[in-house]
């Protein structure tokens, strides 16, 4: 346990070092930028709520990614599942306006979960039935989803006046409750926190979670144990897509209240490094998402005062993943050498 906490500490220190190094390499004033980011993400309570609000979609998609990857399914289609989820929710709002407000929010969120699950399940099913690599199919499905989004907000889901590429604003009662009028903090943050606990319990304390992990680490053993790896992989993909779809639904009902072509914001893509740096563990993913959420919240501040902007977060993520896998391989080899010597 202490070793794990030590590991997290090292990762945290490494992440900060990488951020500063990235600034230095790109010729951006190092300490001023770091100060701007820190101020923009943790400066005041309102700044911190912005960090939490950015963390929420990232964390939910990161949880989705890690469930699929634990089953050996490289789902890099979180983006598409996020979009299809959000659109399914908007479709409910558009085509079932008669629902009582108390049911509307639940119905929308349910639709987002189902939409995401089915979209990811399709990729899982194609993998199992037709041998289509998930890495390739989920990426292709991302691009298709973005075109569907563009078409939907200019077509069947467009607002009543038919002017802007946006859906109608959700009624107040159908939005996630907010805590204050001063900031954007919404109940979705709590949902994301609960999701960490639930995914952790499901993965590590249930028989299904054990099957998922066994299938991912050793499909041969899973088969020999009488499991059907294909079926479990499709299920893991559906759970993964459900979480990504929910992330889209929470962004929709908690933040934007309407859907435009910019719904996805690359969350599905950014979630992959967050899940990896969290060592494919829900708690780790939570911490990594919080770090990147803070970077995003802070980079808005950076954008306003320097030429650098949110794209710098991609660089930090990439370098962090590479540094992380390098260190893990190094410590693995060191352990092996010690074993050989002993």
């Amino acid at each position: 346990m202490i070793k794990k906490i030590g590991g997290f500490l090292w990762i945290t220190l490494g992440l900060v070092a990488i951020l500063l190094l990235t600034f230095a390499c790109l010729g951006i004033p190092v300490f001023r930028s770091a100060g701007l980011i820190a101020q923009g993400s943790f400066g005041t309570w309102n700044d911190f709520t912005r960090t939490l609000v950015k963390t929420t979609p990232l964390l939910l998609t990161a949880l989705g990614v890690l469930v699929a990857w634990r089953a050996g399914m490289y789902n890099i289609g979180g983006e598409g599942q996020f979009v299809i989820g959000g659109l399914s929710g908007a479709a409910v709002a558009q085509f079932a306006p008669g629902l009582p407000p108390s049911l509307m929010l639940g119905a929308i969120l349910l639709a987002t979960v189902l939409g995401g699950a089915l979209y990811a399940g399709l990729a899982g099913w194609l993998h199992v039935k037709r041998g289509v690599q998930v890495v390739v199919s989920t990426i292709l499905l991302n691009f298709i989803a973005l075109e569907v989004l563009d078409w939907a907000v200019r077509g069947p889901l467009q607002e009543k006046k038919k002017q802007l590429p946006l859906t109608d604003l959700l009624a107040e009662g159908a939005r996630l409750p907010r805590f204050s009028s001063q900031n954007d903090l919404h109940a979705g943050v709590i949902v994301a926190g609960l999701a960490v606990v639930i995914v952790g319990i499901v993965l590590f304390r249930t028989a299904w979670g054990y099957r998922v992990r066994l299938t991912g680490s050793n499909p041969g053993a899973a088969q020999a144990a009488g499991l059907r790896p294909g079926r479990i992989q499709v299920q893991a993909m559906m759970v993964s897509g459900a979480l990504c779809g929910l992330a889209g639904g929470i962004e929709y009902t908690g933040m934007t209240a309407q859907i435009g072509t910019d719904l996805a914001q690359n969350w599905g893509f950014l979630a992959i490094p967050a899940a990896l740096l969290g060592m494919l563990h829900p708690l780790g993913a939570g911490l990594a998402s919080l770090y990147f959420g803070a970077l995003f919240a802070g980079s808005k501040n950076l954008e306003a005062f320097t030429k650098a902007g949110s794209t710098i977060v991609f660089v930090v993520q990439a370098v962090a993943v590479l540094g992380f896998v390098w260190l893990s391989r190094w410590s693995e080899e060191r352990a092996l050498r010690r074993e050989a010597e002993a």
Partner: protein, 284 residues
């Protein structure tokens, strides 16, 4: 329909896919292909603008993709780390670097008005390269000693070791060729194809190229045929528009991706796939 138009649309995917055939035949999959193309596109445009010479741009774009490939291979080949993990990082790195440098140095909309490659008749030089490469890649893989060793590396690396070749060395060489072609493909996007750079302009072409390699059963001629199909679908939207056929433009945009997915579904499980594809090699 205009054959040259189809060729122009096919060339970026085609060049990248021909490189990926060599790469995958030797047993590695390049998930970072998209990022390498993007990097090639950006640096080609930037250096062409800075030097006023598109050939320097072509060299810079190609080298930048090659540099990313070297970085990626240090992790996937030297350290034997999972290729999907590293490839994903490569893509993020390219997206972040090009985005940051682009925003820091240019207006946020587009980089344009730089010299592009001259044309030889109706053809760009890189189109000719792409066409010539189809038999060349076939010959390299099927008729040379190196090709035999590379194919064996992708099928059964243990045999390659027994025959006295180095598995890692061959994979490095194959990756070098693939990186070179990814860079050419990316540079072509800004120097021959569009005349401007915008953020994330590769728009999934790298992934479509990977899909076409599977579709073409790792045979250069069929892979290129797949790229032609994609090029035809991309060019189709203009033909249909000029005939005023009313289809949602989003459907036309999505067609190449839908087609790539459809062919993968139809072709089905990887008959003809290199047996050791995607498995990191560690010295026994």
């Amino acid at each position: 329909m205009d054959l040259f138009l189809i060729l122009r649309y096919c060339a970026p995917v085609g060049l990248a896919a021909l490189g990926e055939v060599i790469h995958e035949k030797a047993g590695s999959i390049n998930i970072g292909l998209e990022g390498m193309m993007l990097s090639g596109a950006f640096f080609a445009a930037w250096v062409s603008l800075a030097t006023g010479n598109p050939w320097w741009g072509l060299a810079a774009g190609t080298l930048s993709a090659l540099a990313l490939m070297v970085l990626q291979c240090f992790f996937t080949i030297r350290l034997a780390i999972d290729q999907v993990v590293v490839g994903t990082a490569t893509n993020l790195l390219a997206l972040g670097l090009t985005g940051t440098l682009f925003r820091a140095n240019f207006s946020k909309t587009a980089l344009s008005n730089y010299p592009t490659l001259p044309k030889i008749g109706p053809l760009d030089p890189l189109l000719i390269v792409a066409i010539v490469l189809v038999p060349v890649v076939w010959w390299l893989l099927q008729r040379t000693k190196w090709g035999l060793a590379a194919r064996a590396t992708g099928e059964y690396p243990e045999a390659v070791v027994a025959a006295g070749f180095g598995v890692r060395k061959i994979r490095w060489q194959a990756a070098g060729l693939a990186g070179l072609l990814a860079g050419l493909a990316g540079s072509y996007l800004t120097l021959g194809f569009s005349g401007s750079f915008t953020e994330n302009m590769t728009a999934g072409r790298g992934f479509v190229a990977i899909a076409m390699v599977t579709f073409g059963r790792w045979k250069p001629q069929w892979v290129f045929a797949g790229a032609l199909l994609v090029g035809w679908l991309e060019a189709l939207q203009f033909t249909l528009q000029s005939r005023s056929v009313q289809l949602p433009y989003q459907l036309m945009n999505a067609l190449p991706y839908l087609a790539a997915l459809a062919v993968l579904v139809i072709v089905g499980r990887g008959r003809g796939a290199p047996a050791a594809l995607g498995i990191p090699w560690r010295r026994p």
